[in-house]
Symmetry: D2
Subunit: 392 residues, 4 copies
């Protein structure tokens, strides 16, 4: 059997804090145990703080793809016009859900190394009257880019368009706010920038979105895909539509608590600082970032255009097998075009782990014959971390 | 905050072995880490052994209700005749899924304290030509009863009817075999008799069921509900349709390994022996079992008809708050009519925990004024455990 | 390999709370890490609260026998008269230490099923002028008895005799107070009634005892046995005489915190209530308690005179191998004369575990042919627990 | 409260593998549980393999200073001539034990940045007839140096001098062999190069050493310091002289098992390769190693002469508080003269962690105004790791 890696610095799930694993390993409670029900409510309250929202939050018991499908299934009905913003694989993928539930997709696309321009959104909405929903990926993990969600949300507000937001790897990477940013349904994952374990969808739902879910034809109820079930059961009656994943909830509460102990502002700053330093390191090695402009680079992973003459597998296998460091390849259409250094979540987003990753990355490049000055990337990254302070 | 219980002896999720929690707390691997992919494959192989099958197994990443809905969604199409066996709340509930996907339900029902007679199944199939599917709950956790699944499966074979089996709390309670028992799609949960954590659906799929899923109108693909996605992705291409719940998989592998270390035959015998002893204890207290005949009593929980003059809440709250023992009430239509002592899974299905439970049950009955001779139930249960041997 | 037991209900070390093990498994810190030094100081402060003392406390890094030897080695010098109270194996054993360090032992002994009468202590001190130290075992775990420590301490105060107290299994069993009870050096263990892990000695030291340690000939310094080293290093200079057992400290802090969350008074009451109930159960089985009077029975274990015609091994092996319950035999001179049911510490001292233990005890007695009415002991024990309330 | 560090790279105790902590957290067994006794015996057998010896091994239940004092206390009697080799603080410290037990110390000393020359040992033994014992520190953790233990052992063999060896941080750093290297009593610690938790002394005892312990005046028995007690009790009678630290044993077994899974040869090579790389990194930063010659540099820590104009506290506090990396200062007489980068044990002795440490070290130097080219040390270290392969 292959040995586990030393460092899991992939695109998620990733290494989590030891405390999170200890908390996850608490004895299993029955979901209707009074102590568990209090715990679940408490966790939802923490999640609202992390989302910085007063909106209802729903924790669905499957990884974020469940939340994304559930949002589409709950809202999109045959003939609904959906403006789908596509700046990467995940954005494109959402079209599948729009189609699946009978929606009519209007696509606003940019190359997969670029980000959506909010003005183009305005143009598209002007050009396409009657758009009901806008769907957008906040942080395109496969591309290592992020879209200007706040500005896009503002445009949607002008048009009264309801927003479906994949912020799976965005929550914790930017200081978002569903109310201020006009996010109607925002779906996040615990296993990305929050540094939790995979297996849950974290959803913030605006009052307007609730109304819509209830007023569409055939409201989606009685299904693992139903968000309304959670409203009817948990939010209204303090019962569960089905058995929650008790230990995943323990892990979630742990990461939410840890996140809030740092403070959302500082949490996000740290995440961004490490991403910035990672990019500095990569550039110092003479490599090219995949995103077309650095200001659209994501905070969760740093995507690097594949260096000439190298293959993804060469780099990754060397890092994984010789040095025990797992990183992610390009995904879907981007496979082979880039590799991604991961730094999402508090266990990863730290100078120590960034240095370890870049040092092994450099070493692997050298092993496979790519000319690189060992230490150059690490040095530049550490230089960029001027002012870092764990104790602050 | 309410303190966690001492013993979680509910109807699931329940207390698990400490080893399971330690294994669950292993560092999170990226799902495409080579070590994780090997681990996932290895876990599937163990699951086949626990299911005692050569059929493909699929591990869906949500608790068993996901597997049940997925089975219905994958197979039932508008107009399909489904013979739905109803001997309890869960059996009745499945009708909702049949309806949801357009099936035509033919119901064969018995009171919720009884079990289905295989001869009645034969009669119903004779009376209703063209039935495509039979749906049945193996172990009706809410009623504390089980149906004669083997015999029912044999009848279905005669008629060429495909079987959809909810064995969520049946796997580990009886020595089933999908091939011999003619189970086409059998859905189990790790958090019941296997004593694992909740959050996964364990599914055994016959070749005929695969063919059917692929040949129905609009085969279900591209959804969290899709079983075919797992065939296309994992079974054929060794990739995942979406991110699996890594730590839930660790916990599952652990319980499968523990189960097989005991041996399926012995594992099931132990489960049944404890259930038998529990019933002996309950009867010795002068209480009435809920199941109409003892031979249909389930092995996962012992359902007790509510003693006259007592309420469910009185008993359960006293057990939970004064003595830290969590048990389950009646569920759905059965709420208030019965209570359920739990003994599912290796952490519970043991003389020590059974004795603890019965002693606290007796004590709570006395506390709330029900006449009971303290020790009578425990004594009868322990007497029934003649021959028990951990070391055997 | 023999499987681990289900329940470890021995005379210590015993089952601990799952929380304690999770806390023990925190990452290892360097002992001079600022976080660890704060943690160590915090743990000492908690220990003072558990000891209910303002005296200095010292945590030596080896199980309690280290603390006992250290106390003797630090105080007793050639020719010192020591009144050694002997009511059991451990009391007698202390004479070895007195001899080792040149002391002159004056023994006040009672049979090993009895306790010391404080009046006899007064008589002995009157009859032996010049006694410097009195050594006494508070809770004689091997005999399942306890001595009237408070009253003995008061007598010593009259005579100005310094007390060396083995309260290894006494701390947490009675509401002691070094100041009020006149205990000069009191040595406890985390792995008994506090329900911690073995590997540390917990010592409370009076100012007079400190003075004595420093003023004796050749004060003991520079040794693993030195208590003064801890004063010189930790208490005065905030450094360690040697590397502390970091993870044992984590576990200790956890149990101290858990103990104080219950509250010392209630903690002790629960311990005593369970012991009382255990004795009620044993007597109901027609067995004879080993202690000559019930009021001297210890709270940590219940010692039972060996039933006629049975051997210790028969009972214990049956309980351990068939039912996975580990209890303790007689120790030293008492081997074969008694067996001991354990109920020390919060994981054990609970109605659930007591019931489990008694049920298995009864069952094992029956298995080996001893006439017993199954359930009689459990019933009597549960009857004795009238008023128990976890939530109180 | 100060937060725990991210990386504990001190001079021990240090970060351990997550697996070790999970194993440590297994339920506490009674030490006379049959399963624990088998486990203890099994652990001793593994320890013999790690020590590469057929000699008896003894596991004393306190950190290594206990084993060192115990060895002296067990063997040295008044008037015994002991040749004490001093190349550092720990070597010098042993003189205290020689004195304590009445021995006559003959010192062979070198500066604390140098190592003992075996020829000087021969000269000293020639010049001092009647020397009974030679005491030597294999790996001087405070100096970051090691002595040529094999050659020193060979000289002692010529003279029939019994050797007392402090290999606390040497076991796992070199491929030693008590038989081949003529080590009579060798004391190691689990918390150094084996990467375990602190709290145990691991001792290998030659037959000659056993004879001597039994034949000296007043053989040391009946004490926490007694090695003979373990022979009499555990090795001869399969019982314990006192309660072992059950969870420390779990952790020890885990690290021994992990070590042997790597294989001793490879384990040691990895340890040495990382130490070599660390030195390369330090030199590339223009800093001076503390050891006078690189071939005497230890594998457990890299001692660096304090750079001009800096203080120990500046460097360490910056690393610890700003970047969460804990390293060790100079110890005792060496305080302020050096700092020590730690890389002992499998969790640390890896390219990832070495890179993290050096990167933070560089960053901290820069923060406090020392001229350093960020990345230079990391790069040189990684260059020195040519050929490293986790998968090999």
């Amino acid at each position: 059997m292959t040995k586990p890696p030393r460092l899991n610095l992939a695109a998620g799930p990733v290494d989590v804090m030891p405390e999170t694993l200890r908390d996850m390993a608490k004895p299993v409670m029955y979901h209707y145990d009074p102590a568990f029900k209090e715990f679940f409510a408490h966790t939802c309250a923490l999640l609202q703080q992390v989302f910085r929202t007063q909106y209802d939050v729903v924790i669905m018991q499957g990884e974020a793809i469940l939340g994304l499908e559930a949002a589409a299934a709950s809202l999109i009905r045959p003939g609904d016009k959906v403006l789908n913003l596509v700046s990467g694989v995940f954005g494109k993928w959402f079209e599948f859900f729009i189609d699946k539930f009978g929606g009519h997709t209007i696509e606003l696309a940019v190359p997969y190394n670029d980000a959506i321009d909010p003005n183009e959104v305005r143009k598209a909405l002007n050009a396409n009257p009657g758009v009901k929903y806008l769907s957008v990926v906040h942080s395109e993990t496969p591309s290592g880019t992020h879209n200007p969600l706040k500005e896009i949300g503002a445009v949607c507000k002008e048009f009264g368009v309801l927003t479906l937001v994949d912020t799976v790897s965005g929550l914790g990477a930017e200081l978002l706010s569903p109310e201020e940013w006009n996010l109607d349904v925002a779906i996040a994952g615990p296993q990305k920038c929050l540094g939790g374990t995979p297996g849950l969808s974290l959803i913030s739902v605006s009052p307007v979105a609730w109304e819509r879910m209830e007023s569409v034809a055939n409201p989606l109820r009685g299904s693992f895909l139903s968000i309304l079930d959670w409203r009817d059961a948990w939010l209204k009656e303090n019962r569960f539509p089905y058995t929650p994943s008790v230990n995943e909830m323990y892990a979630l509460e742990s990461v939410l608590r840890q996140t809030l102990a740092v403070g959302m502002e500082r949490f996000v700053e740290r995440q961004q600082a490490i991403a910035r330093a990672c990019r500095a390191g990569v550039k110092a090695l003479g490599l090219k970032l995949w995103p077309v402009r650095e200001e659209i680079a994501a905070s969760c992973v740093t995507a690097i255009a594949m260096p000439d003459g190298l293959t993804d597998a060469q780099i990754r296998d060397t890092m994984r097998h010789r040095y025990g460091v797992m990183i992610s390849p390009g995904y879907g259409d981007l496979h082979g075009k880039l590799i991604r250094l991961g730094h999402m979540g508090p266990a990863q987003a730290h100078p120590t782990i960034l240095a370890a990753q870049l040092a092994v990355f450099e070493r692997a490049l050298k092993d496979i014959g790519y000319p690189v000055q060992l230490g150059a990337g690490v040095g530049a990254a550490m230089a960029a971390l001027d002012g870092w302070d764990d104790a602050a």
